[in-house]
């Protein structure tokens, strides 16, 4: 089978990508989704807080997904559910399996990977103790409670104060559980502020910074955990160990981009984000293979996923029509507290007709700093920020004049200026 554009994953990234590719004039599009329905992780995120930037109203996850699913259906864009992509190669051949079609290989002109993230498992954080039941990743618990209507536990400790952990602290409280503590290894939370306010403070749930779970107890079912404070090197101080009785431990210890497919296709990955290294058109090191959404880098706001993915869709269609411009590229360097920047490569004669923006994350909490972009050492853009935190993505958008400055530069740097040493 041949297809112009194959999109792997039908979450918010895949949906926005497909819609924008269609609106750019492409009609030969196929979305492949392994779950029984489109919408991705949003289907289980039943809380509100999605879409304020895009729709100027606050939607729940399923409502946000519904708008995009409707957009796909209204345009008659082809999609297959319960179709799992098992391989993508450098020749842009996409192989999927489904009960209906069996094993199918598609020759695509362009492929966009929109596979999202999966949760870091318990194995990744090495807690001592028995392997009793009652230990869940927060996202799994979220699905069990919100979609399958099951009860997960009564007395709960949550490890990790990322958004999923915070959201689940409130959700479990709503379900009648007693959330005894949220335990966070770092001295700050990687979750959104408003989730700390709305999910913990509202219900007087303690948030213990610089603490971790050192042991889990219980043979059949979990009966308690031992927590301890950690020192500046994040090593537990055993003299501070404390036992908390609980039947459930939720792990919210981070997300990992699902990049197995990208790796097979030979896409070069970033050691910082775990996602592909992309240029300003969201294209990877493999010509014609694009990535966007959570598989590229973890987003806290779905609005930015949709924006980024719409751009990827548009650029993929331009690539199908015109091929890749054969031009010079500049690597965008990051320094002074900027952990990474997406894109990390700028094409010199790339098409920037729609606005160019950089998305980045910082490595620590900094106050009163200026996000600064330099071209050949000259300030192109400076954005003052009262506070930046690792949990919230930073974002700068360039004017046509600034873009011109960037394109003619031979080096580009992104930096946090005004950081107190």
């Amino acid at each position: 089978m041949n297809k112009n554009l194959v999109i792997v994953g039908g979450g918010p990234a895949g949906l926005a990508c497909a819609i924008s590719a269609y609106d750019e004039g492409e009609r030969d599009i196929l979305i492949l989704e392994r779950e029984p329905e489109l919408g991705g992780i949003l289907n289980q995120c039943i809380h509100n807080g999605f879409g304020l930037h895009t729709f100027k109203e606050e939607l729940t996850g399923p409502e946000y997904a519904y708008r995009y699913v409707k957009g796909v259906e209204e345009r008659g864009i082809e999609y297959k559910t319960e179709a799992t992509v098992i391989d993508v190669n450098a020749q842009k051949q996409v192989t999927y399996v489904s009960k209906r079609d069996g094993l199918v290989t598609i020759d695509a002109k362009a492929v966009v990977l929109c596979c999202g993230c999966r949760e870091r498992p318990r194995g990744a954080i090495n807690i001592a103790g028995m392997r009793g039941s009652g230990i869940f990743s927060a996202g799994t618990a979220q699905k069990l409670v919100n979609v399958e209507g099951l009860s997960v536990g009564k007395n709960v400790v949550i490890l990790g104060s990322g958004d999923i952990g915070l959201i689940m602290a409130r959700r479990m409280t709503f379900e009648g559980a007693n959330v005894k503590a949220v335990v966070e290894l770092m001295p700050y939370s990687s979750g959104l502020n408003r989730n700390i306010v709305q999910c913990l403070n509202d219900f007087d749930i303690p948030l213990l910074f610089s603490h971790t779970v050192v042991q889990v107890h219980g043979k059949g079912r979990l009966c308690g955990v031992t927590i301890a404070q950690v020192d500046e090197n994040l090593r537990p101080k055993m003299d501070t160990a404390k036992y908390i009785e609980c039947d459930t431990l939720l792990l919210s210890v981070g997300l990992l981009p699902e990049n197995e497919l990208a790796k097979n296709a030979g896409v070069v990955l970033s050691s910082v984000t775990g996602g592909g290294i992309v240029d300003d058109s969201m294209m990877t090191s493999q010509e014609g293979i694009f990535v966007c959404g959570n598989v590229l880098h973890v987003h806290d706001l779905v609005d930015f996923v949709s924006q980024e993915s719409a751009l990827a869709g548009q650029r993929a269609v331009q690539y199908i029509r015109n091929g890749a411009p054969n031009c010079e590229k500049i690597t965008i360097e990051t320094k002074n507290g900027i952990r990474y920047c997406v894109p990390s490569i700028l094409k010199k004669d790339g098409d920037f007709t729609s606005a160019l923006s950089f998305k980045m994350r910082v490595s620590n909490v900094f106050k009163k700093v200026t996000l600064t972009v330099f071209a050949d050492g000259v300030v192109v853009l400076a954005k003052k920020r009262p506070i930046v935190t690792p949990g919230e993505m930073e974002n700068v958008t360039f004017t046509p004049k600034q873009i011109e400055q960037l394109k003619t530069a031979s080096s580009i740097q992104v930096s946090l200026e005004g950081v107190e040493k």
Binding site: I46, N48, E63, V145, E148, R194
Partner: protein, 119 residues
Amino acid sequence: MKELICISCPMGCHLQVEGESVENIVVSGNGCVRGIIYAKNEITAPKRMVCGTVKINGATQPVVSVKTKEPIPKEKIFDCLAELNNTTIEAPVSVGDVAIVNVCNTGVDVVVTKGLSKR
């Protein structure tokens, strides 16, 4: 002065609030007008959206997600949840269908946030 973190949107602006009554509240640090509205409400009459699930008969899944159409008084959250717990609706449902009218006498309806067809 009181410090609040605005929760009207995911930006989480840090607000500084002076004064205690709606008339004399002065807000700074807000990114948009919603920050001012939030601070006023939070000081005088805090409200929250409640999102949860209700049981559904005859659908492809046993529960369906719902939300209060508007925020309700914070102190009514658990009464509202108790009502969600006691509610069962019938498939099919569409986004926006009313599951509970005027929940806990707040004047606010609870609406379905996900369409589910009949199994």
